[in-house]
Amino acid sequence: MLAIYSDETSWWQDTPADEMDATLAAYGAFSDEARASGVLVSEAGLEPPPEAKTVRMRSGAAVITDGPYADGKEQLGGFYVLDCATIDEAAEWAAKLPIGDDGCVEIRAIIE
């Protein structure tokens, strides 16, 4: 699983429409390449962090708050599940992601 973290809030607020379209198209090209290579299992991009709700399980009760899990500058923006032979191969795919501007991709193996 490639979990994508970047400065989501400023991207949604400050990116001009044409630049946003170009980035979405670049993600589309990445997905198409991964699909054509046969490694793409699943993927999703997420709506902006302000639309998030967070559910915390505390002493058997669910506490629901507005906003994302972490208050940090960088937020979860989406994910890919890729079927790769090694984590190095997954890292090569991650390096092709068009996240730009100091984004970060966490790669984790899935439990079988």
Binding site: M1, A3, Y5, M20, D21, L24, A25, Y27, G28, A29, S31, D32, R35, L40, V41, S42, E43, A44, G45, L46, E47, E51, A52, K53, T54, V55, R56, M57, R58, G60, A62, I64, P68, Y69, A70, G72, E74, L76, F79, V81, I87, D88, A90, A91, A94, A95, L97, I99, G100, D101, D102, G103, C104, V105, E106, I107, R108, A109, I110, I111
Partner: protein, 131 residues
């Protein structure tokens, strides 16, 4: 509407659990997953191996990507897995999120981007929807 439920928890709890507690926990996850499948809302979901097995790729504004061992955030709670559910509204998905069998854990619920509504033809959710 498709929603991502991102699961965050303290992974050390798993290592400290007895085999019986681990088996009971796995049954809780299996029961939850089966319930989402039977309700027709399940699009996908996976559990992740411990964050010590993570590799992180940082993409700088210029220059080559930087690959390092370990997770993105060095926090007590770590990304533990996810569910991708197709629910009719936020109340519906929050009802599912409350049933996640992760005592002491946290679930971030986010709507999935509708690429068509944003005019992106190149991008589709097909692979996600197929699961």
């Amino acid at each position: 509407m498709k929603y991502l439920l991102a699961l965050f928890g303290d992974e050390s709890r798993w290592g400290e659990a007895t085999p019986e507690q681990q088996a009971a926990s796995m049954k809780g996850w299996d029961d939850f997953t089966k319930a989402t499948i039977e309700a027709g809302v399940h699009l996908g979901g996976e559990g992740l191996q411990p964050s010590a097995t993570a590799t992180t790729v940082a993409i700088p504004e210029s220059g080559d990507p930087i690959v390092s061992d370990g997770p993105f955030a060095e926090t007590k709670e770590q990304l533990a897995g996810y569910y991708l559910l197709d629910c009719k509204d936020l109340d519906d998905v929050l009802g599912w999120a409350k049933r996640i069998p992760m005592a002491g854990g946290t679930v971030e619920v986010r709507p999935v981007m509708d690429y068509e509504a944003r005019g992106s033809e190149a991008h589709s959710n097909e692979a996600g929807a197929a699961r």
